[in-house]
């Protein structure tokens, strides 16, 4: 074996000294050779079955499934299924697009209009910031933010309104729904359970995904409320409750997407998301469950994305192997579903790489991300729509272009035909190994600091991510990294191509300005009508369970939700009992 590599290494040396050198000498500006070429000598001792294996088998490097479900290409037209496909039709992406507008009424009307044009997905809810931080719409301290980045949720009444269009064939036992909610995730779970109970639907039929990935909130995204250890106790409650009672619900939708957007490098993204997932697993184990009793209910929303096409493909291969190794080797998983990454989004360009300058170029960028995704086991979605950085919400035109790009990649370019076409590539396998190795090193480093809570509280993770973000910015400013239309190709003869938006968005932005007043009125109405005694009693019960570390808070939260106790009242009990986290991560 060594002899074979010796021969190739010798040839490589000769290549560098003759062919490459000759070529370099023809370019007067060239100081050193830019030639990079991977051959068998770059990947010695490569064990294909151990490192890659077959798609759908451990260690899942080549893919979580033997083929990609979208390859079956289905399209839903009304209730009939044809042999074409539609966004959201694959087994993994049953919920509709991330959405949530103003007051619950506006969001309900949006879903009504979507259902009218054939949407079959359950709501994928975006909540406003007060909701994500456990504040009610009538709290004067958060005035001006109600209904801004998503819908406002105060009480069960708001869930009743939002889910009103989901009846009959779209009832709660037929749809899958998702909520981008972290610190108050258990409150959302409780409200949904209360809603299902009112509709007479048994818990084992429910399918929902709370984001519930609180650990990344402390280092990116920022919607934490309680200290990490206390938040993890709440996480334990949802893990145990969902594993035991609602097997079709996901417990967590984790990942490194938000951290990469905050500036994390590829390796940091992978390392920290795996640290977080390992922490969640340990909590389940410590609660007395076996890994296979809950890990199949773990899901990933996304890892971060980037424009470096080949590296992102390697990254996704590495992420699958690392996850499978973690689950099997560290936690003793036996079920395949515990070991695979089930994720909504594969490789992508990364929203942080969209540019305000010449924004249509973002379409080209997103398609590159879509190809990377398709070639690394994901759906070839051209994400995000090109007008992402303009701050106006996605126009329907931009969505149409993104949707069509995905269709073109699938049915015309046929990039999903072969699973993991890079398997065995000397370069791709080397890079996959390198990314995984570096991620494990950073993983071990955080664990040696006393685990993730310690690394959060000391500010380590946030500072590391911030430093990476600054490093990248410096490279762009110093011309070591180029962004077209931003720091290069910006001359006066370049055109800024724009398209005029002609189709109106289903949500009128002027409604957003009225959302706060409307929602405050809604809440006042609920407070007037509910029973003070029931509210008081259920809150007292909640306080008791919160104080009792051995108790599970979910049933008490359901009782609160049923009494129309508000989100802020429930979170207020936790704020009292657990305290609030104060971020001390200096620069």
């Amino acid at each position: 074996m060594d002899k074979k590599f010796n021969e190739i290494s010798k040839r490589r040396k000769r290549w560098e000294e003759t062919t490459v050198k000759d070529a370099v000498s023809r370019f007067s500006y060239m100081q050193e050779s830019p030639a990079q070429f991977y051959a068998p000598d770059s990947l010695q001792n490569f064990d294909f079955l151990n490192k890659v294996g077959f798609p759908g088998e451990y260690p899942y490097t080549a893919g979580p499934y033997p083929f990609y479900p979208n390859a079956a290409l289905r399209e839903y037209t009304g209730q009939s299924e044809t042999n074409r496909f539609k966004r959201g039709s694959s087994g993994q992406t049953r919920a509709a697009e991330y959405s949530g507008y103003g007051a619950p009424e506006s969001t309900r009307d949006y879903y009504k209009s979507m259902i009218a044009i054939g949407s079959i997905g359950g709501p994928n809810l975006a909540s406003d910031l007060p909701t994500q931080l456990g504040y009610d719409s009538d709290n004067p301290a958060i005035s001006g933010e109600v209904g801004k980045v998503g819908v406002s949720i105060d009480t069960l009444r708001d869930f009743e309104v939002i889910y009103e269009p989901f009846q009959g064939k779209l009832n709660l036992d037929k749809i899958a729904t998702a909520w981008t909610i972290n610190a108050p995730a258990n409150v959302f779970i409780a409200m949904y359970i209360a809603l299902a109970k009112k509709r007479g639907i048994s818990l084992d039929k429910l399918r929902f995904t709370p984001q519930n990935d609180i650990l990344k909130e402390y280092v990116a995204r920022g919607t934490y409320i309680f200290p990490p250890e206390k938040a993890l106790r709440l996480f334990r409650d949802s893990l145990v409750f969902l594993a035991r009672n609602i097997p079709r619900a996901n417990i967590v939708s984790g990942g490194g997407y938000h951290m990469r957007e905050a500036g994390a490098s590829r390796e940091q993204d992978l390392a920290y998301s795996m640290v977080n997932i390992a922490t969640y697993c340990q909590i389940g184990i410590d609660a007395g469950l076996s890994i296979d009793e809950f890990a199949p209910q773990f899901t990933i929303n996304a890892f971060g994305g980037d424009m470096e096409f080949l590296k992102e493909i390697a990254f996704h291969r590495a992420s699958r192997r690392m996850y499978a190794t973690l689950m099997k080797e560290r936690f003793g998983a036996k079920k395949s579903k515990s070991m695979i990454i089930r994720q909504q989004r594969g490789a992508h360009m990364g929203r942080c790489n969209t540019t305000v300058q010449r924004p249509l170029n973002n379409l080209s960028r997103s398609i590159i991300g879509g190809i990377a995704s398709g070639l690394s086991g994901g759906s070839p979605s051209a994400f995000p729509p090109y007008d992402e950085p303009l701050g106006l919400g996605w126009s329907l035109e931009a969505r149409q272009l993104a949707e069509d790009a995905q269709r073109i990649l699938t049915v015309e370019a046929r990039i999903l035909e072969v699973t993991d076409p890079f398997a065995g590539s000397y370069y791709m396998e080397s890079l996959t190994n390198e990314i995984e190795d570096n991620a494990w090193k950073e993983f071990d480093k955080v664990m040696s600091m006393g685990g993730v809570a310690a690394a959060i509280e000391s500010g380590y993770i946030k500072r590391e991510i911030g430093k990476s973000a600054y490093q990248r910015q410096k490279m762009i400013e110093e011309g070591e990294q180029y962004v077209v239309g931003v720091n290069c190709f910006t001359g006066e003869h370049e055109l800024d191509v724009r398209i005029k938006s002609l189709v109106q968005n289903p949500y009128d932005p002027s409604e957003r300005e009225k959302a706060e007043e409307l929602q405050k009125k809604n809440l006042a109405e609920v407070k007037k009508r509910r029973h003070g005694k029931g509210v008081k009693k259920s809150l007292e019960e909640l306080r008791k369970t919160a104080k009792d570390v051995g108790a599970n808070t979910i049933p008490s939260l359901v009782a609160c939700a049923e009494e129309y106790v508000t989100l802020q009242e429930m979170c207020g009990v936790f704020r009292d009992v657990f305290g609030e986290y104060e971020d001390r991560a200096s620069l």
Binding site: L129, G144, E145, R221, C352, V356, G391, D583, A585
Partner: protein, 132 residues
Amino acid sequence: MKSQKKVRVLIAKPGLDGHERGARVLSYGLRDEGFEVIYAGLRQTPEQIAAAAIQEDVDVVGLSILSGAHLAMTSRVIENLTGLGGKDILLLVGGVIPEEDMPTLKKMGVAGVFTSGATIKEISEFIRSRLS
């Protein structure tokens, strides 16, 4: 001589928005450009930001807002700064700011608005030119 005293900058994130990348990168960057940077961290109320600006005797306040609440937040910061006698402090706003809101911010008294793609150099030169 003015060059003896470092220009003091307060970078703050008003409201509930937790997107910190721009604020942190700019803080590091301005510090390397020779400014004295105070980073106030997440979830500051306009009242807290104005009080910190006065207490720290800063020359510049930079607000980073990506939540769409920029008009309400900025106007409350200005109101509070004015109330505390900090009307002359140079006020910058950054984040996700739709183009159509920029004139409104400038009318309120914001000196400069910097969105995605703005460079640290551009911002530091802007500050220097306005303070010289």
